[in-house]
Amino acid sequence: MSDPDGVSPVLDAAPLRTDPRGFLVRALTQLFQGAIPAVAAIIGTGGLALPVIAGVLIFGGALSFGVAWLQWRRLTYLTGADDIRVEKGLLSRSARSVPYERIQDVSIEQKWLPRLLGLAEVRFETGAGGKEEIALAYLSLPESERLRELVRERKEGPPSPAAAMAEPSPSAARAGGDVLFAMDDRRVAMFGLFEFSLVVFAVLLGVTQQFDFLFPFNIWEGDGWRTLVSGGEAGIEGLAHMGRVTLALAVAGSLLAVVLLGIVTGIARTFMREYGFLLERTARGFRRRRGLFSKTDVLMPVHRVQAALVRSGLIRRRFGWYALDFISLAQDGDKAEDHVIAPFAQLEEIWPLVRAAGIEPPGEGLEWHRPSHRPWLYDTLLNALLFTAVGIGVGVALASPFPPALGALAIAGAAIVNFIGWRRHRHAIDNRQIFSRTGSLSPRLALAPLVKLQSAEIAQSPLGRWGGYATVRLGLAGGKLDLHGLPLAQAKAVRDAAVEKIVAVDFSRLPG
C-alpha cells in the first residue's frame, strides 16, 4: 500500500487545514459551554467584585479562543491515493489513516451555527462503531462535497448486484439522483401530530409541582379547590357563585392547554428534525437530506444494508402510518442506531423502498409461524405472583384496600399486554430472507436476507427448558434479530436453515 517512508502517493500536494471560520465556531461553542459554569460559579461565590468577574470572563474568552486556534492549527488532513489521513492533537499527536474501501458512509452535518457561516462537519463512517470514526469539523460546504465525491470515486470495487440492478442510468444518478421518498410540509405536520410529546406533559406536571408555592393553596388536594369554589377566605369574589361547573371547566381548560402544548411541541420538534425530508437514489446509494436548523446529509451505500425494519406506533398504526429504518454497521448520527429511511409513510410507499435495498417484502404465500404461548403465560404468572405479594403486603401494612386493588389492575394489564404480544409475535423464513414480527402495542417487522447474518444461536433460560421453548439469536451486523419463544424443534429448524444459507456464501464475497 505505502512505500517504506510511509508516504503513499498523494493527490493533494500538502496537508490541508479545515476552514478557518471553523475556528470561530469552535471558540464560540467553547465560550457558550464555559459561560454557564462561570456564571454559576460567580453566583455561587456570592457575587464577587466586578473587576474579578470581568477578569475571569476575559481570561476564559482568551483561553477558549487560544485553545480553538491551536486545535485548528494542529489538525491537518490529507487525501491520498488510497486513504484519508488526519493528524491532530495538541500535546499527544494522533495520526489516523482510513483506506477508502473501509469508508462506508460519508455524512455531512450542518448544525445551526456552522450553517450560518456556510460550514459543515464531514464524518467518515467506517463501521468501527461511533467514536472511532473520523470527523472533520468544520469544512466549507464545497470542500465537504468535494471530499464526498472523492471518496465515492476512490471507493472502487465491483458494484453489488443489487446496486447494479437498481442503477439504470449512472449519469442521471450522478446529476442528483432519483427521488425515492420526500415529505412535504403537510406530511411533516401530520407526522408531528403523532409525535405528541408525553415528555412535555411530564415536564409541565413537574413544573407545576415545583412552583406550586405560587398557588394560594395546594393544587394537588381537592380541599383548596373546594375552598376556592365555595368562596372561603382564599376564594376570589364571584367564583363562589359559579360552583362545580366552573371547577370542571377550569380543570378541563388547563388539561386542554397542556395537551395543546404537547401537540405544538411535537409538531415543532418534528419540523426541526424532518423539514425538507428528501431521500434520493444516487450512484453510490441512498442519500438522505433533512432538517430545518441543523441540516444533515447522509449517504448510505445500498450493499451496506443488513436488514430493514418497519415500525409503527399504537395510534399511528390505526391510520396506516409506518416508519422504515435500515440496519447497517454505520450509525445514523450520534443517537439513533438505525438509518431512518422513511419516518412517516404508508405501507405502499415503504415496500418500493425496501425493494430498492434488495430486500423482498413478505409475499402472500409466506408461511408465518406463531411462537409458543408459554413464555407469555409464564411472564403473566410471575407478574401475578409479584403484584399479589406486593399488593397484599403493602395493603396489610397500610391497612388500605387500594394497594391490592392496584395490584390486581397491574396483573390484568400485564395479562392483556402479554396476550396481545403473543398474538402479534410471529416469524417466517423463506429461502432468501427471514421475517420477524414483534411488539405488543407498537408493532415492528424486521426483514433480513439470510446471507447477511453472521451467526445463529439457540438460547434457553431455565423456564424455557421447562416449557420446551427457546430464543433464536441471529447475529446481525449493526443490529439484533431475536426470535422469542419458539418451540425448541422449530428454533432448531430456523437456526439450521439460516446456517445453511450463511455457509453457502463466504463473507469476503459478500457485497458489503
Binding site: 454497521l329 447474518l453 453472521q454 451467526s455 445463529a456 444461536e457 439457540i458 438460547a459 434457553q460 433460560s461 431455565p462 427448558r465 439469536r473 441471529l474 447475529g475 446481525l476 451486523a477 449493526g478 443490529g479 439484533k480 434479530l481 431475536d482 432448531k492 437456526r495 439450521d496 446456517v499 450463511i502 455457509v503 456464501v505 463466504d506 463473507f507 469476503s508 464475497r509
Partner: protein, 156 residues
Amino acid sequence: MEGEELTPLHPNHVKALRLAAILAAIPPFIATLVIELAHVLPVPRGLALVPVLALLVWFVIRMPLRRHAARGYQMGADRLRVVRGLLWRKDTVVPFGRVQHIDVERGPIERYYGLATLVLHTAGTHNASVPLPGLAEADALEMREAIREKIRRDTL
C-alpha cells in the same frame, strides 16, 4: 447436524474450573471464618460455618463437573458449534465464512493446565465474539489453523 455427538472439552478443564472456583471461594470462606471466630451472630457455634462450608464444597467439587459436562463443541466442515451454560443454555453456530478474526487466549490458570480458549469474532452485534474455553493448547492452535485454512480456501 443435530443429533451428532458434541466433542467434550479437555478433562483438565474441570481442574481449571475447580481452581478458579477455589480462588472465588476463598473470600467468603475467610469472611465466614471471621464471623464465626468473632462470635458476632447470636447463634450457636457452627451454625453459620457448616451451611456455608457445605455450599462452598458443593461449589468447588460438584459445580465444575456439571459446568464441564454442560459444555462441548462440534467442529464441522464449514462451521463451529459451541454449546455452553448450565441454567441458561446457549447453543451457537458460527459459520467459518463469517469469521473476521480468531484469537487463542491463555489465562494464567489455563496455562498452568496446558489449556487455551479459542475465540471466534464475527461482525454481528450479537455474538460478536464466541469463546470456546477448555481446549488443549495444541488442539486450539490446530483448530485455529484449520479455520484459517478454510477461510483462505473459500476466499481463493
